[in-house]
Every structure is written in C-alpha cells, then in structure tokens.
Amino acid sequence: MLNKLYDWVDERLDITPIWRDIADHEVPEHVNPAHHFSAFVYCFGGLTFFITVIQILSGMFLTMYYVPDIENAWQSVYYLQNEVAFGEIVRGMHHWGASLVVVMIFLHTLRVFFTGSYKKPRELNWVVGVMLFGVILGLSFTGYLLPWDMKALFATKVGIEIAASVPVIGETIKILLAGDSTILGAQTLTRFFAIHVFFLPAALLGLLAAHFIMIRRQGISGPL
C-alpha cells in the first residue's frame, strides 16, 4: 500500500533522487561512534540541529500563550509557568535548550576547527557555520528580553548600550533594535519579538539549508 503510494508520487514527481540526496549515503568509519568511541565529537553538529528542532517546536507552543506587550508579557509568562498544563516543562525546555544549543554549537565549532575540516574545499560551509553561530547568539540575545522581567530588561539595556557604542552606525543600530533613541520599552519588546520569532528563524532556516546542502555535496571530511 505504502509502496504503491510512493510509486504513484514517484512516477509523477521523480522524488527518488531527492530522497537519495538527503538520506542515501554511507557513513565513514572514522565518524561513527559505534566503531571508535572518540568519534562522539562528530555528534555535536547533529545534536545542535536536534536542539534547534526542539527550540522551534517548544517556541511554537510558547507563542500560543505569550503576549508581546509590556502590560501582559510578564503576566502571560507567569501564567504559562504556573497555571498552564506542562507550561513549566515547555518553557523549561526552551530556556535550557537556549543554553544547550550554545554549548553544542561551540563544541561543534571546536571539533571542525581542530580537525581542520574547514580547509579547501569546505571554506564556504565554515563561513555559513560561523554565520549560523551569530544567528544563534542573536536569537539568545533577543529571546532573553521576552519574559519582560527585571533581569531581561536590564541585560537588554546593557546589550543595546554596547551596540550603540559602535562607531558611526551605533546610534542607528540602537534605534533599529530599540525603536527609540532613548526609551527601552513597548516598542523594543515588539521589535525583539519580531526579530526573535520571524527574522532570525528565517535566516536560521535559510543558512541551515545551505549548510546541509553543502555537506551533502562535499561529504564529510576524511580521517586525519
């Protein structure tokens, strides 16, 4: 039955090559922890992706309750944390996932760096990877403000002051992020929400696609 369905779609869309491109490849021995335990260092990239997926899913559920508005943001998070069934777990996963994804992407970067895997022909994939690192840090920074509690507000204040100290364009960056040259308030919260939920995830998915397409094209780097 499933095979027939697959054949029916395949006959029309020729999906087999797509499928083969994604999943049909051999995993070489030197990256397989089943053969060499030390190869677990090659898992960090996959785990980063795994947490990213969890972050996207838990984030989608969080937006079902969260209200990006200075009157209600904190109230909605408080309600989510204390009243909603499993709200504490979903928010907890998003909170700890934010830390874990930074740890994992850092370890993945170090693995690629110390195995010299960024060398020719994989230069572009490294550059895309570092951009992904930047996007993840941007997501962490913008997500930190959203609960609108004390530490969120003041950490963001510091962060925006640092951005404002960039020569020449600092003031513009500040206004772009905060929505105002002096006030950090309602406008800032909605902007950070938009950046955290729409702009950066869009960039993240685009870069991730490029990252994965490139690794499928080039394959994983050989043993040292």
């Binding site: 090559p17 021995e29 053969h35 795994f50 777990i89 110390f114 230069e123 004390m150 969120a152 510091v158």
Partner: protein, 260 residues
C-alpha cells in the same frame, strides 16, 4: 549531468522522462576505506539512541531546575545590577577592565570581539596550508586555545565577582496583597516610624517587605522594639516608641498578612 539544456521533459512539465532519471544505485564510497555504514537506516537507528540519552538528560535538567522568572520589569528601579545570560558573561566582564571601558569602551565592545569573530569567520582564508592536524598548524591551534582560555577566565572572573545573593534578592517577585488600610493595625503602622522604611503597602522600600514574613506577632514586636543587629551591623534600628497595646494590635496585623 542531466539538468539544464538538452533535458528532455515529459510534455510541458518539468518531470524528466524516464531515461534521464537518476538510477537508484547508491554512490560508491571507496574514498573511505573501512567499515562504512549506510546512513539510512542503519546509522540513524544507532544515532537516535545517542539522541535519546541526550534528551533524557535534557528533560531531567528541565524538571530539576524550572526556568527562572524574576519580578516584572520596572525601568524606574535604578539600583538593579544587570547581568546578561551566562554565555555573554565573558564579553560583559571584558568591559570592566580599564583598557576596555570608559574612553576605551570601543576597544572592549567592538574591536576585540570584532577581531575575534572576524578571525573565526575567515579562518579558512587565514590558515591556507594543506595540514589538518592541530599539531601541524601551531598558530591556528595556539590562537584558538588562547581564545578558549580567555573565555573561560573572563567567565570565571565575572561569576566570582558577582554578588549572587544580592542578584537573587533584587529579582524576587514581590507579592502583592490587598492591604486593609482601615484596619486599626494599619493605622498604627502608618502613624509610626515603620511606614517610612517599609512602604505604604508594607511592600518594602529601604527595609524589606513585611508581607508573608513567617514570623509570629511576638517575634515582630521584639524586632520592632529592639531592631535587628547581626555581626555588629545594625541593619534595622530600634524603632518602636508607642504603647504596648498598640504594638500588639499592629504586630498581629502584620503577622496576619500572608502572601497570596
């Protein structure tokens, strides 16, 4: 190459005719001698076990440590000591050194992080040799180890210099309780010196909040009369100078205030 010019399509669609379809033969991986394994399904079936172990640890962390939530943001609180999330601590700490703050702020805020991030991004173009082993390319390895050591050191310094107890106190969610201002206890409270430090709604100001203290009326009376002294520091002066009866009415009122 079957794509592009010369491609034969079925009718008007973009579906290639059968002769141009990719054959369903897995690629040859003779490039990697040794025990290769098919990604799908063999390797993935082992990989999900690593994922599961990781997920269990992750969920245990989530259950054991509920994510923190401090009191609602109050931009007027100028005494709040800010702290970024832990993975930005090293950048934050860097700004506290003399060479990277004040007039040299741009050094700590932009130049040093910018150079580090730029060098990281351009690593493949800076380190162009064919050698891949870390020991065979001492400069990149050395710089990266130096960067990791600095990040660890700066994060450590930041954590060691931060007053975590004060941070926990300043972030507490302040309980709001309806105060019955017509209560005789409240009238005594507002007429006495207490109100100047503990606030109109007993929410705390210079002194701490008096709501939900967990103390009995006698203990509160004892503090009101004698103040609090610990370790030679008088954190609260002896404050009560009214009558015994008033003291009892007021302390019973305060002891009865429970957080919702």
């Amino acid at each position: 190459m079957h794509r592009g010019k010369g491609m034969k399509f079925v009718g008007d669609s973009r579906v290639p005719s059968k002769e141009f379809r990719k054959p369903n033969i897995p690629k040859d991986y003779s490039e990697y001698p040794g025990k290769t394994e098919a990604f799908w399904p063999n390797f993935l079936l082992k990989e999900w076990m690593i994922g599961s172990v990781f997920l269990i640890g992750y969920l245990l962390l989530t259950v054991a440590h509920p994510s923190p939530l401090e009191g609602q943001a109050d931009p007027t609180d100028t005494a709040y000591i800010p702290l970024p999330d832990w993975y930005f601590l090293f950048l934050y700490q860097l700004l506290k050194y003399e060479f990277a703050s004040g007039p040299f702020n741009v050094v700590g805020a932009i130049i040093i992080p910018g150079l580090a991030f730029g060098a990281l991004m351009l690593a493949p173009f800076l380190d162009r040799g064919p050698e891949r082993r870390p020991s065979k390319r001492p400069l990149p390895t050395g710089f990266m180890l130096l960067a990791i050591a600095s990040i660890v050191f700066l994060t450590w310094e930041s954590v060691a210099n931060h007053d975590w107890e004060a941070a926990a106190r300043q972030g507490e969610i302040t309980e709001e309780v309806e105060i019955d201002t017509a209560d005789p206890g409240y009238e005594i409270y507002s007429a006495a010196a207490c109100i100047s430090c503990h606030g109109d709604n007993l929410e705390g100001a210079v002194g701490p909040s008096l709501i939900g203290t967990g103390l009995s009326a006698e203990e509160i009376a004892e503090i009101a009369v004698n103040g609090i002294e610990a370790g030679g520091v008088q954190s609260m002066p002896p404050s009560w100078d009214g009558s015994e009866e008033d003291l009892q009415v007021m302390t019973e009122f305060i002891a009865g205030l429970e957080a919702e």
